[in-house]
Amino acid sequence: MSDDDPLVIAGEKFTSRLILGTGGAPSLDVLERALVASGTQMSTVAMRRVAPDPRGSVLDVLNRTGVRPLPNTAGCFTAREAVTTAKLGREALGTDWVKLEVVADEHTLLPDPLELLDAAEQLVDDGFVVLAYTNDDPVLARRLADAGCAAVMPLGAPIGSGMGIRNPYNLAIIREQATVPIILDAGVGTASDAAIAMELGCDAVLLASAVTRAREPELMAEAMRDGVRAGRLAHRAGRIPRRLYAQASSPAEGVQTW
């Protein structure tokens, strides 16, 4: 993405509009190559009990590639758990940024709206910069922004489902009402999904599985980088209206008749 069209979250500028999650990569080496190919500048990590691994850690990879870690609250089902996990992320990584995730159950991994809003309010009060993973519900998105979230991150489809953007109309409404950056989070399956999200006006796309679980993660990371970029440019350029009938692009005048 060009320097004259940065993504700005809580006053901080990013030239890449792709946020790549680290989850699901088969190895740290594959992850590192995918991160580089994606051009991302921020990448999510989860907080778990320590189990030192001689093969290194994801933080080593992020340090080496210069990608900023964004701790998440994955695995939390209640506001209380999420707030505690966010605080752990803050202490471990020295950042008050958090990707807030509070899900309702393990099968859908859909956000629990009540716990999510409660957690968002508590974390904003505590000085966190909250990027909230949410349903594609325009009302909840607005409530999260009103609560002080720095970015609202609606899903396109359930986490890891690769189903793309199931409700583009809701996303368009969320975008239209937005007072903070809107980041499409979850559901992206391939590069066209990322492009569509950006064409709909999303400010960025966050994805993990679509890259880390692709047959060739590094190649897909590059595809996502270009998909996000193409979608952003198309959004800025403005698509032509859809028409039912054809409209010739060659001049009607001067046509020879035989």
Binding site: A74, L88, G89
Partner: protein
């Protein structure tokens, strides 16, 4: 005294601080976070925070996810 670290019992000398425990676990000064009895401890309090008998300690770090 006996404490629990990430769900496993462990004995350590009285007066052991959080910083001492992390060193014993072979963890460096960055990248980890600690909760004692469910309360997250700010990093700055680690050197002075002495653990007590029966404390339930969680030590977490960042892993691939999200």
């Amino acid at each position: 005294m006996t404490i629990t670290v990430n769900g496993r019992e462990r004995t350590c000398p009285p007066g052991t601080t959080v910083t001492d425990l992390l060193a014993e676990l072979g963890l460096g000064p960055t990248g980890s976070a600690v909760a004692v009895n469910g309360e997250v401890l700010p990093r700055g309090t680690w050197p002075a925070h002495a653990l007590g008998d029966g404390d339930d300690v969680d030590v977490l770090t960042a892993v691939q996810g999200g």
